[in-house]
Subunit: 361 residues, 2 copies
């Protein structure tokens, strides 16, 4: 980790403490707003991106996925797992890392954690979608599933949509109590949060303007029955995000207008994997760009079938890069040998071996 | 980069100085032998691996590729670029990084440079193939193309096959002179190397037992004409490794018995991209396993159409992991938050923000 190579070849490394520090410096609300702004800007450039569904390796215990994307200027990828049984071992269900490269040289500019960052960008993306899909007068949200992602969802909706009335439900009441404790301590500008733990999904959902589902259920779950959905609701379906894992009753999908990130991926991974291949959906970027209608009627039920798309990690990495450089957070590392003559890799190796004190001893 | 999380969640980070140091500790010959041994062991487990051709993003200046693979126990990927014009900017043509994960938890065990490592594993792989394909009495090798990879090819063939007579050719004589200087300083067990710079490919190839082509030519190059190929030669074709980039006259392919790593990838990227889709090839792993013949006749022309397969990076990462842990090389980093309660990512973030001196000021 020493400074032996010319600066232009070095890579900015952000570990999870660096990202926490950056969030601390910016403040979480500013961080969520900044991320949502970057996401919006990048989604408006949708046609610029070379898009592909993620590449997954499945094992009995879970999945490991690679999510690459490029706009011809930068290239990013994320490597992320999903292991539902990890909680029982005291490990996070989802862990991620990623990198940002320059397309014109292939240089690795940024390398870092994306676990914390994924939680933030997913929440910022949900809030960005709700800004164009939820009713403008929304002030209450039911939060079904109160695990690691739920705090960030609650705070993003509080910061970006002014949601102040939160109703929590989880099959494990302890999870809701944990979330409620964290939210009670959150310092937000404006009105304080009202947080209520509910005894059922039905109780949480009744009268809510927005319903966010973000459970860790495996298989075809029904965390929300169709009869609970009320006219005018916006549904933010976050938890159904891989083949075989869904949260919603298909009747809800038939009743709602469904908005998605990247249709080829969402049809494999999202709630709409339960529907026929031609089930009508609207790409969210078109709504953001004003090319397609979002919410058109007060009583309309809108649904953001969120699965998490590579573009969002691209945006998050770009946001981290700009902010980390501005605030001098992170460590510069040498992932690439910095030989003066690019052809002389072996010569560089000889020099690097000689430079090392451990070899002199 | 501080030690705030339980050890089991930490990731071993190897920068390029760490890898150089490890090579220095082991010695380059032992490193090449160890890598070749790991490659052999893993190739013998070929059916255990979930294999896919790499995923490439193409731009005008070059390519960036992801190469994932798993055997159900470990998962690895490499991110590697190929930018032929980088040399003119003083940058390496090829740079790479990668990671090794546990399949049963998704935990990132190793993260590191793979530029230097790729040069080593490619050379070790070439030598491993030549061990079963070249004539047993081989002692001379022509090396066409004397760039960053060539030193490692020369040393791997010297260390693993006992090659002592090297004939160098490059369109840029300066490149050959650079290589000759490096090889003159190489300390190898046994007989010294004889190194000769040639004025043409023809001069280098005449009478050689092995011919290695490892040029950076773009497009359909002809670095070796068919009439130069002599009975009994083994050809190690390293440079043709992406769509549109080949080094050999198709007549050579028709005359030789062709051995490949992973046919679906080699048919897109290797020399055989010039041939029909049913052009006969033998998978190298079958030869290593004794399931298919390698060289059967002295006068046979054998050709290893090397493109570099993800399995080789898996082997290299496993080798690095074992050796780095044994010799305590590298840095333990936190790519993953280490919260005590996996559900309480936000609680971890609050704690991590408070821990940081920069926030207290």
């Amino acid at each position: 980790m020493q400074a032996h190579v010319p600066v232009p070849l070095r890579t900015l490394f952000l570990d999870t403490h660096d990202v926490a520090r950056l969030i601390g410096i910016l403040g979480l609300p500013a961080c969520l707003r900044g991320l949502a702004g970057t996401l919006r800007t990048d989604y408006l450039r949708w046609p610029d991106f070379d898009k592909a569904a993620r590449i997954a390796a499945y094992s009995e215990q879970g999945t490991i996925e690679l999510m690459p994307i490029t706009d011809g200027t930068h290239y990013s990828f994320k490597c992320v797992n999903g292991h539902p049984g990890n909680g029982r071992r005291g490990l996070p269900t989802v862990m991620a890392m990623g990198a940002l490269l320059d397309c014109d040289t292939g240089m690795i500019r940024l390398l870092g954690e994306l676990t914390l960052t994924t939680a933030l960008r997913t929440a910022a993306m949900s809030a960005l979608a709700a800004q164009v899909l939820a009713r403008r007068d929304s002030h209450s949200m039911a939060l079904i599933g109160n695990g690691a992602q739920s705090d960030f969802q609650a705070l993003a909706f509080a910061c970006l949509l002014g949601i102040r009335d939160l109703r929590l439900y989880d099959v494990d009441r302890g999870a809701s109590e944990r979330l409620a404790r964290n939210l009670a301590g959150a310092e937000l500008p404006g009105r304080p949060l009202s947080v209520r733990i509910c005894d059922s999904a039905a109780q949480a959902v009744r009268g809510a303007d927005i319903v966010t589902t973000v459970t860790a259920f495996q298989g075809r779950a029904r965390v929300l029955d169709a009869h609970l959905v009320e006219p005018g609701m916006h549904l933010n379906a976050v938890g159904g995000d891989c083949p075989g894992k869904t949260e919603l009753d298909p009747d809800i999908l038939r009743r709602a207008d469904v908005f998605v990130e990247f249709p080829p991926q969402t049809r494999k991974e999202g709630e709409i994997q339960q529907m026929p291949a031609d089930f009508p959906v609207t790409e969210l970027w078109r709504v953001l760009a004003g090319d397609a209608p979002g919410r058109t009627r007060t009583e309309q039920v809108t649904l953001f079938d969120s699965v998490g798309f590579a573009l969002e990690d691209y945006s998050a990495l770009r946001f981290l890069q700009v902010q980390a450089e501005a605030h001098q957070v992170g460590t510069w590392v040498d992932v690439t040998p910095g030989q003066t003559d690019p052809r002389d890799l072996y010569g560089w190796l000889l020099g690097a071996m000689q430079d090392l004190p451990a070899l002199a001893s």
